[in-house]
Symmetry: D2
């Protein structure tokens, strides 16, 4: 059960000379999906950062696999799941489907970057979790 879904109509300009999606675009869509989720749950990244006195909900690592290609005219449904909260990390899982066919699967590991005592640090995730889970 996904926590958020973003529909992405694949356009001509998303594709490369082989006629399939140029892969860095999938990461733009991962990021956009997460930010659209923040918009819905917390009024957006900027409002969230102000509320948490944070610099950003930034990326630590990311990966993706591409089981099959997507091309112009396809409608990709990108599903995002809040998969695991650590004390200083949030693991997001993504699955992109065209029809029932998987075109991308991956994850992002994100942290909350805060400035404390003049240094950037990975902040405690509890306040973010409280906001995003609506508790």
């Amino acid at each position: 059960m996904a926590d958020f879904t973003l529909d992405v109509p694949i356009s001509f300009g998303h594709c490369d000379p082989a006629g399939i999606v140029f892969y860095p675009n999938y990461f733009r869509w991962f990021d956009r999906c997460f930010h659209a989720f923040l918009q819905e749950r917390a009024g957006g990244h900027r409002a969230l950062c102000a509320r948490l006195d944070a610099k950003g909900v930034g990326l630590m690592d990311v990966d993706a696999r591409f089981p099959s290609p997507a091309t112009e005219g396809d409608l990709m449904r990108l599903q995002m799941t809040l998969a695991e909260w650590g004390s200083k990390t949030l693991r997001l899982e993504y699955a992109g489907l065209v029809g029932g066919r998987a075109v991308v699967e991956g994850h992002e590991l994100r942290g909350l970057f805060v400035l404390r005592d003049g240094r950037m640090r990975a902040g405690d995730m509890a306040p973010l979790r409280a906001i995003l889970e609506g508790s």
Copy 2:
């Protein structure tokens, strides 16, 4: 009265260090708007090119003005108008609005690129016009 409208939710990743849309993105949205219109009217660019024995509905020139900035969380409504058909050109006009405020205005001049006698040429627009105007 617009011929096609594309809603673009402005995301964090569309913006630059000044916190506003990085301007080349507006042209990605112009292009995407036109291709979404082709999808609706003609089954997409690829199907259209097959039908017209053409290489593409490509760009000759483009411009844009930016009366005011757009930022993350804004919803831009991008309106496209088929403004003028020439014998070998189609002029498309675009206006992007956030609320009632103009954030971008511009045009694209497009032609139909066809391979004839081994050379790429600007083709006659009449067959494209017939398809896009549904006559």
Copy 3:
């Protein structure tokens, strides 16, 4: 005589399913060329803004024409000229050549955005001109 030149090797990922440069990329290169020039002349956009108490050297309008296509493997030489200073504007002209062949020609009109009395305004260009012309 160009004021700055940026060499852009055209890569696979810059091109679309028609095998030619996806046009919004040209504007990323216009912008990158201008910022590389700022880097060389003024230590970069951020340093320049700090020195001028400005928010940015932003875009007012832009256009481009595409006399011929560029494709993967091409080396584009992008030449930028400081074409005209107005009291509140700077007109930059760009010409992109592959071999001796023109692939893009265009201009950007930029202004200096400053926050004064709580409002964003177009600032006087004289201090920017003095820095960029090294006088």
Copy 4:
């Protein structure tokens, strides 16, 4: 010892509202680095595909970690290593450094996509290896 190095001057437009590189750009640079390597060793992707009767040297999976941020004005040196040849895969490893500081580390797993008997398949890597290793 890297097999190929691509210098990437980080520009304003590569960065997001947090003032650091918007992460999908790192994957554009991974891909560009690999294609620049193909250009040098094999005359580019298109020539290589023609020679191998292949559709492309496409991506199967990819990942990246971001030990520290990069920002405008930084010069990133991106080093690529041909890390491991499988019978149907090539593993490429990437490390991006600003000064001596790591800003990105990751890998791509690529295959050779060929059309055989009307179906797209992962082709044997031996001919590609022979070309890229110059044997």
